[in-house]
């Protein structure tokens, strides 16, 4: 440094130069200091933002799954369908065709629908769960047979998604001149004054709609946004348009044919083409009619927490997985808590310092880092194939998870036991206690909060574990809620994995909702561990 600055100038000048260079160097060094600090903070903030993005992403995805849409309809419980012989016994009541009753209920809500396809479209708006709900209600109270009850009927998942607004944007404009309808149902023609549909034709031209070679009208295909006309209490889906006339199919029958005044009919546009959404124009027409009647209601989705898995997204719930998780974790806890604590006591208090103890210690540390899927292989070949335990059972899942979290619990328990000062032990032994009495009567109770904290953290780890459980077959599609620890069952993380594979949007929302429930449990457990630590931790 001094070499470069050496010059024939006078001493003060040289000192000045040196100070300048030093100042510049110092400035650079401070700049790099600041840069380093900012980099560190940036890394930390980036990491935190990952967490925030992850959680917001999942929570926003999950929100729709926590509500469901139902339609309140009058259901006529026809004794001829439910119980033709009047026996009122549960076998008859359970076997009856309730789906025909719910179908009849929704058919009577929108009268005048004819034709096979529209009728089918209308009845398939309801979920098959609607009939199950009705069956449950009738079996619980057979006295309602023969009466008409008002009850909420569950929609199918596609309708539910439409109502939650994840499809089609609509816009509406009032008609500018009078319009005459040729008929009330079927394919009809709407005739208006010159230029009634001029704007629509111009729009269609810009959307490159095909032109019919015979009439010169613009044709609306399912690839284009749908145009519908609300007129005389009915709804017409347009198929072809000229500036003066439009032809189309009635989705909802008109109350009368004839002239509708300017402003009393509307042109609706569904921006998303029919071919690109789940709900057809016919479905939407029915849903909107029901909505206009005020029959549709949005409820909290209790079903999600009270029912088992299902192939129908709107019926699928996490109760089976929750109960399976509870069984599995129970087995895990029963096995790994005593074994872990006793092993820790042995290693910390009684084990002689020799080669064997060393091997056990190294072994426990390595076991803690073995990939979880390898424990699944162990479970598969030892518990299932060698001992012949049942596949998919919480018993086996619990055993595998117990082995998986055992090192965690042993390490945490050892730390807790080690933290108890030797004076406690020595005092007990000095008063005549045996070594075991000193440990079990004095050291262990004092180490208990630390052991409990470690156990809760270990159980939280077990709660989130998926891979080893896939290996032992806890991945089957299981509708029933398991009653014992040898029934086939699944657990919450596996349920999440199963649902995440399904293509339906409704299932993806449910996956996110199940994740929210899982994370909720994890936060609760970790919160409990932190609370325990803060409340009972003692500094000696």
């Amino acid at each position: 440094m001094t070499d470069t600055l050496a010059s024939p100038n006078s001493a003060p000048q040289r000192r000045q130069l040196k100070a300048d260079a030093a100042a510049a160097l110092l400035k650079r060094r401070y700049a790099s200091e600041r840069l380093f600090k900012v980099l560190g903070l940036g890394a930390l903030l980036l990491t935190a933002s990952f967490l925030v993005i992850l959680l917001t992403n999942i929570v926003t995805k999950s929100i729709p799954a926590f509500s469901e849409h139902v339609v309140n309809l009058d259901v006529v419980i026809d004794p001829k369908v439910v119980d033709p012989e009047g026996k009122r016994d549960s076998a008859t009541l359970l076997a009856a065709d309730y789906a025909s009753l719910t179908r009849a209920a929704i058919m009577s809500a929108i009268p005048g629908i004819e034709g096979r396809n529209p009728r089918r479209a209308l009845t398939s708006l309801l979920s098959s769960g609607a009939a199950d709900d009705l069956r449950e209600r009738v079996v619980a109270d057979p006295s309602i047979i023969g009466t008409t009850i008002k009850m909420p009927l569950l929609f199918s998942d596609d309708v539910d998604l439409y109502l939650k607004g994840s499809s089609s944007v609509t816009s509406q404009e009032n008609g500018s001149s009078d319009l005459t309808a040729s008929d009330v149902k079927g394919d009809i023609t709407l005739t208006g004054a010159e230029g009634t549909f001029a704007k629509l034709v111009a729009q269609l031209e810009s959307e490159n709609a095909e032109v019919s070679p015979e009439t010169g009208a613009r044709l609306l295909t399912p690839l284009l946004p749908s145009r519908l006309i609300e007129i005389n209490g009915g709804l017409v889906k347009l198929a072809s348009v000229t500036p003066t006339t439009a032809t189309g199919t009635t989705l909802i029958p008109l109350t009368s044919s004839g002239v509708a005044k300017a402003g009393s009919w509307q042109l609706d546009t569904y921006a998303q083409p029919e071919s690109r959404r789940k709900s057809s124009d016919q479905d939407i027409a029915f849903i909107e009619t029901l909505r206009d009647k005020g029959a549709i209601e949005r409820n909290f989705n209790w079903r999600f927490f009270t029912s088992g898995d299902s192939r129908e997204a709107e019926l699928a719930g996490i109760r089976g997985a929750l109960v399976g998780t509870a069984w599995t974790l129970l087995v895990t806890l029963i096995i790994c808590l005593p074994i872990g604590v006793l092993a820790a006591i042995y290693l910390e208090e009684f084990a002689p310092k020799n080669k064997l103890t060393d091997i056990i210690e190294v072994n426990i540390n390595n076991l803690a880092a073995v990939p979880s899927i390898v424990f699944g292989l162990l479970g598969l070949s030892v518990f299932l194939n060698f001992f012949g335990l049942p596949r998919s059972a919480p018993l086996v899942g619990g055993l595998v998870l117990a082995l998986l979290v055992l090192p965690t619990i042993i390490i945490a328990s050892r730390a807790a036991i080690k933290a108890v000062p030797p004076s406690i032990r020595e005092a007990a032994i000095g008063l005549g206690a045996s070594h075991q009495q000193a440990v079990f009567h004095h050291v262990l109770p004092l180490a208990m909060p630390g052991i409990m904290t470690g156990t809760i953290i270990g159980m939280a780890h077990a709660l989130g574990e998926t891979a080893p459980l896939l290996m032992i077959g806890m991945i089957a599609f299981i509708v029933d809620v398991p009653d014992t620890m040898t029934d086939a069952a699944t657990v919450l993380p596996v349920q999440i994995f199963l649902w995440s594979d399904l293509p339906e949007a409704a299932f993806q929302q449910r996956t996110a909702a199940a994740i929210v429930v899982l994370l909720g449990f994890l936060f609760l457990m970790n919160g409990a561990a932190i609370w325990l630590r803060n409340k009972f931790e003692r500094r000696w």
Binding site: N57, N366, V374, L470, F497, L519
Partner: protein, 462 residues
Amino acid sequence: MTVVYFSALALLTVTAYFLASSHSAAVSARGQRLHSLPAYHGLLAVSLVIAPMLILWVIGTPLISNLALSNALNLFPTDVQTDSLKSGTALRDVQSFAAGQRSGEASDVLRSAADTYSTWMTTGTYALLAAGIAAALLGIGTSLRLVSPTFRARTHFERFVRIILIACAGVAVLTTIGIVASVLTETLRFFFDPNIKGRPGVLDFLFGTEWNPQQAMRADQGDIKSAYGFLPLLTGTLLITFIAMCLAGPLGLLSAIYLAEYATPQIRRYAKPVLEILAGIPTVVLGFFAALTVAPMIRGYGEAIGLDVASESALAAGLVMGMMIIPFISSLSDDVINAVPQSLRDGAYALGATKSEAIKQVVLPAALPGVVSAFMLAISRAIGETMIVVMAAGLAAKLTLNPLDAVTTITVQIKTILVGDQEFDSAKTLAAFALGFVLFFVTLVLNIIALRIVRKYREQYD
């Protein structure tokens, strides 16, 4: 029956405790001073009840069911008895018929076999119950007879407890032995069992470039050629691990440095839980995020700038795996940096170093072994991670280093092969165990080296 047995066990345990402790209390009340407190006589009696009853149950239950099954099997014709597949089906039929779960027609053989089976099962369980109770009563009798001034009940009980403690500590060792034994035997069968069709040689496995475990199930599918070349899986695993480390390495280390050297206690108080929460998020959740949010996003960006991105790209899986590893690296490095003695920093400051110069030129070199071992543990974590790659990486075993392509990993293949029904004699199933062995071996080596580095490094400053 299990319930009856264990109720008997519980009842006898309580009885034993009260009988033995009250008897010894009575003896000492008569003026004979006993070595141990009555409670220890009671506990010794309890251990003399529980131990024999549990041992009998563990040995007896499978013995009875095997006896019953083999006697039932004897009633079937010889061709069923010798064919392992047919006899397995027959025995399942017998069991379900005996349990009353089977509806419909049953042949005479099945009916009589089921009768034999249930007779043997009933007799056996009653015999077991009787033997258990007899053993327990014997235990109680012994413990009552042993009460005397010279008998040291506590010493004997503590010896019993010590055996239990050793057994519990041994479970961890047994687990390792179980893992090694199960994975290793299947792997050896995969390579050397002559009865396995389509098994590869060891060299074909280690250096083969094609992986296709599918096997012809029927004769008309004869053209499916299965191949067990391990290289595509290895490159896929390493590619994803590399991407993950590129994200997690710098971020984890920098945030650890910031937390250890710059952060105020206030920032630490908020930053630590954030990292802990990130570390505690189940991997299935991260997999969902990778598959449904990150992968489509990367695909979208890639297409916007004209790149061809697979819908299940290695990049998406790697980035999310990096997110998983950041807290792991940062908390391990944080500990290591904090363990560097303050005197080293003070020395650097005294020579005029700025804080960052002290960190870069003094603290980090001192902490280097620890940081290296943290990275190694993180790599072993990434290699063994399953759910993220199962959900976000593909199944196509391609030998590529392009991060935008779909790749597959060791864990994905294990999961794909073993989920669903599998027969234990096919090369395909055994291949999964061979992969499991490789995984276990690689992570074990990484861990041992890492732990050794940490241990060596700690000794320097203590």
